[in-house]
Symmetry: D2
Subunit: 384 residues, 4 copies
Amino acid sequence: MHRKLRIAMIGGGKGAFIGSIHRLAFSMDGHYELVAGAFSADPIVSQNAGEELQLSRDRVYPSFHTLIHQEALLPTAVRAEVICIVTPNHVHYEPAVLALDAGFHVILEKPMTFSLGEARSLHKKVLASDRFFMLCHTYTGYPMVKQARQLIQAGLLGEIRKVFVEYPQGWLHTYLEGSKQKQADWRTDPNRSGLGGAMGDIGTHAFNLAEYVSGLQVSRLCAAVNTIVTGRKIDDDGAALLQFNNGATGVLMATQVAAGAENNISIRIYGEKGGLSWKQEDNNSLQIVWPDRPAECWRAGTGYLSEYATHNSRTPAGHPEGYLEAFANLYRNFALAILAKENDALPSAVCTDFPGSKEGLRGMVFVEAMIKSSQQQTWVEFTH
Amino acid sequence: MHRKLRIAMIGGGKGAFIGSIHRLAFSMDGHYELVAGAFSADPIVSQNAGEELQLSRDRVYPSFHTLIHQEALLPTAVRAEVICIVTPNHVHYEPAVLALDAGFHVILEKPMTFSLGEARSLHKKVLASDRFFMLCHTYTGYPMVKQARQLIQAGLLGEIRKVFVEYPQGWLHTYLEGSKQKQADWRTDPNRSGLGGAMGDIGTHAFNLAEYVSGLQVSRLCAAVNTIVTGRKIDDDGAALLQFNNGATGVLMATQVAAGAENNISIRIYGEKGGLSWKQEDNNSLQIVWPDRPAECWRAGTGYLSEYATHNSRTPAGHPEGYLEAFANLYRNFALAILAKENDALPSAVCTDFPGSKEGLRGMVFVEAMIKSSQQQTWVEFTH
Amino acid sequence: MHRKLRIAMIGGGKGAFIGSIHRLAFSMDGHYELVAGAFSADPIVSQNAGEELQLSRDRVYPSFHTLIHQEALLPTAVRAEVICIVTPNHVHYEPAVLALDAGFHVILEKPMTFSLGEARSLHKKVLASDRFFMLCHTYTGYPMVKQARQLIQAGLLGEIRKVFVEYPQGWLHTYLEGSKQKQADWRTDPNRSGLGGAMGDIGTHAFNLAEYVSGLQVSRLCAAVNTIVTGRKIDDDGAALLQFNNGATGVLMATQVAAGAENNISIRIYGEKGGLSWKQEDNNSLQIVWPDRPAECWRAGTGYLSEYATHNSRTPAGHPEGYLEAFANLYRNFALAILAKENDALPSAVCTDFPGSKEGLRGMVFVEAMIKSSQQQTWVEFTH
Amino acid sequence: MHRKLRIAMIGGGKGAFIGSIHRLAFSMDGHYELVAGAFSADPIVSQNAGEELQLSRDRVYPSFHTLIHQEALLPTAVRAEVICIVTPNHVHYEPAVLALDAGFHVILEKPMTFSLGEARSLHKKVLASDRFFMLCHTYTGYPMVKQARQLIQAGLLGEIRKVFVEYPQGWLHTYLEGSKQKQADWRTDPNRSGLGGAMGDIGTHAFNLAEYVSGLQVSRLCAAVNTIVTGRKIDDDGAALLQFNNGATGVLMATQVAAGAENNISIRIYGEKGGLSWKQEDNNSLQIVWPDRPAECWRAGTGYLSEYATHNSRTPAGHPEGYLEAFANLYRNFALAILAKENDALPSAVCTDFPGSKEGLRGMVFVEAMIKSSQQQTWVEFTH
């Protein structure tokens, strides 16, 4: 067991769904210790959250500016090393840049930024920095998602021809923002969410999953993006025809108005030789179909999986892991990569297999392409 | 039990997959007696098929022309009443028109015709005729598909917002036509299949299922249609963004190159209040999801189903019916409609709930729209 | 196509669930023509059923005695060849024996007889006869059940260690016989059903499935058989610990009071090397699990199945068959066996793979063992 | 957020599967801080484990005796408050008793003790103590298991009639202990495992699940317990017919030789009005069937669940939790109960809903009843 990394949070105060998820995720494997936070733009709310989390009062800050500034002044052995940013999208870019500049490793919620311009700038910043940066595309943390990618990399399915990815949710099927429900409120506000609503919030997850598992890149798309619920100011639904850089084609769907749908993000990929499918609802299984022999179900925790899948499991087969463990895998790999470098070792490829600023930038390109294609009713090329 | 209808087949000789399926389907409920056939364009093949089927030699014809001509000359009590046409697409229009003109009821395989022009003409012919006409969109014969339609008609899901339909097959993932395999051979030949390959063969099924269950009509679409297997002369894959006449949107996918996929046509529909899904692989179940209460699984053969679903079942719950029974439902309803009229009764709405020339015409409009949209890379309006 | 066999029915009049199932089953593949019947002990009911079925009036009989007697007097080319007996259990033995004695082939519903004594006697009679005899254990007609048996015969799972079979139904969870519902009425009447209620009705199916798939024989059991619904005169529920002739052990469960359960008979078998499972609800799949490699799903209609499974399918993979097709497989194989013999050919092993009097006798031994073991609260040996 | 409880571990050193699971479970929600341990009977192994876990050297002990003795001498604000015992079964009783006597709260792995006599004695000790005691029947920590229990308590299914519980594993399908694999080694050694092998290891889980969900108590059983793998010294498989205190009956199965099976513990219960089923493989769903309306699937994280289920979830619907979260629920509730009492508050019923010594004693009665019934081939009454 290595030493614990000291982590600070920006955002994640009361009512912030994802804040507590992050804390569960980074606590799980014992690689992090929460030492500081600026949990809200409201100093009182921030302080209350800090108390609730039993932080020392002097490490709870009234703003992300003060957090970054003050923590940087603390002795090396005391100050936070990693800053985790879980604020609404319009407060991603500035703290991320400030944190990197101040020498912190950064973990950032998706979508990477408010605008594509910010994304381009942040990506450059990350490339130029010697700090680690992670973007929280949780679903690529699942062991069977990693196994799927490995099987395709190994050529098991042959050349990839078709990629179908979808992310159906239903929680915004009514005008929930009218009730000021916190999650709905900012996610449906273009001033905080950015160009895309559902496209930024979950479309980017679907997009990232498609590129991660297939190992391909979307080169162009043709989309229909909709605002279905009356009164809403931003998209809550969309779909796109996809074309990939190897000539493969596919479909992406992401919606937040599928009344009754929970969160069953899923992917299916077909190659020349066979196909695979994975869905979050049954995340410990990876289904593979063949034209000429029985279908297979590969299972998490078994002995026949790749190093990538095995490394990202904690329990033996039949003891299901889930979303929190997938999230924890991101955090664990991030920590192992940092600690390896600290020990002058090269982090293994397995540990650096987490999404970064390149994936973040591509996500923002995706959002812009979706909106633009839909508005213009044409195919749109991906350009960075 | 009513008297049996006398049926004649055009097509369906040796190696014709769908021919034996039709015979199983129309035999199941005892409403038909096969009395004549022109089973192949090759008179020898036709005669052999007739023998195999124990038909009287003089009722086995060397061509559909002779069949229609000769049968029409037979005494009313002897001659075929229904002509079932299961030939490749380029031999749909002519026998259908001749048969209707000669006073036969007609059952026709999908897609309705070789070309959209033929479809328009045949539809007019049917409208002007007093004969019954059925197009074999088998999947709407499933009891739980009918139940799905009924639930939507009854407003259970509220206004429909999203329709996702897909039809993944894998049997054409290689250049199967190179081996002259009979099914692949004509289906991939534009001179026999028509404008669409996969789009005509299975895309029309998916399209019909979407319109039947939703009760809506596609008003425009934007498609990407592909020929994926090298050497193939026609599309084997495609997808489209859909827009419906009530403003709902959706996605259609149909592919024959999804290596390892069998035939799991499926549909998901979301309305303001909830969603439903059905897939052929689990055809006796209809899944319904709600935002605020447990998901439901409605099951074939139970006591709580609509008259439409109940009428189209034969076994009690838990005794699974399948594809042949769905097909047989089409045949049975067609017979009951004919027999009701024969007895000067109005056939019940339940019995006339089978696809006809309107559905056939819409299918051909769909095929053309798919190809055109894909070629032009634009949205295409549906016009008849 | 061979000539059609002429079949007569005893039982199966109005309200008899299984009568119409039999007619659907023997009609499906065109091997039978219904020529005669004694559909009820009530001559009027019988005559009405005959009319409904469009039989010639003189071939509809007021009793099974007259049917057997009169048909036997008809010319060879006219008279029924096969007699199908679908009466309540107390009217199994006599017509079966009379029919065999009169030279008819016999198809009999399960359980084979009212009493074990009758079963022993009938089994001897069948062994001594040159007529074919089939007992309707429908579930062994499913292609994937046959595949399961073949895989075990081929040693794929190694020596069999565990057999779990269950048959949960719910339709008798209330005192349905109080309403005189026809199915419940006789099945819960010891004077018509015999020693066992649920044990005879569905326990024998589960027992037969276990022995058929495993290829083993139960050698002893220890049972708890219950009458759960107040007022009922016969068992409606039971379970047993099983021991097989190779030393394997297992559990059998059969109940008709599992409120909400449909008819999902299922089996799981584990050997030294792996396990398999099949359930009727998903009858076109056979699941196989291995300790050291991915689980497999073998699917009906695919190209990698055994001759037994392939012979008992009609549709390509992904076009689900079900209960009626399984039932039709029994009838088809029975016909093919008869026709082969008629042509002085040896029927293939695939065609004679249907349950007979030996299975019927074992079923009756099972029922008696269940009741006796439960009453004595001890293990009971199987003896014939 | 309350203060963290200081916890010490007995057992759980290198190679101990369950040790790391416990640490993941008690770390998840931030209620515990690991402060001490005696991780192995081998002082070197214990010390290494302590280092790995970054414990202070002086809090890592060479034996459980020294741990309990020395920790008790530490100042109140420093010493461990909870002792978690994850040793093989023969080292359960002594440390548990010593720890309670020394004033520690105790968390103990199942089965509770090596022998039934020890269980009786420990149960008395717990009753007489003012310390909290928890037995790790993890599966009752799942939210949908709790929901199942609540639905039954609320009478939704009516009087319970049938209980089927099973626990199939395959990891001991070969003579694994021959390789000295650590888990197999002690679990198959009667001197360390106790009277039961599989019956103690997983049979007790199945038994506990049955009693917890049904709210009933087994009053008698008739079992067949087997040692299937050659050379093994203890049972690796078994099944029993069950009778419950309300007259309900059922079946329990537990095996570790089902080659290919993972860990899919499951339960099905039928009452007068309907039935429910839950299986670990799909732990976020609870299936309910009704005789007269659609089946339902209740899902974790939704808004319609009982307080018990909601309290034991962390994520919204569609973000699957799993085994570690179920385990963490036990730990969390245990902590909340302790902290409530510390604050002079009555812990809520939701928090004290974890298994204790009564469940542990019943488990040991179960093991003895299974073995005895199997040896004597008779029904055995449950007596405490």
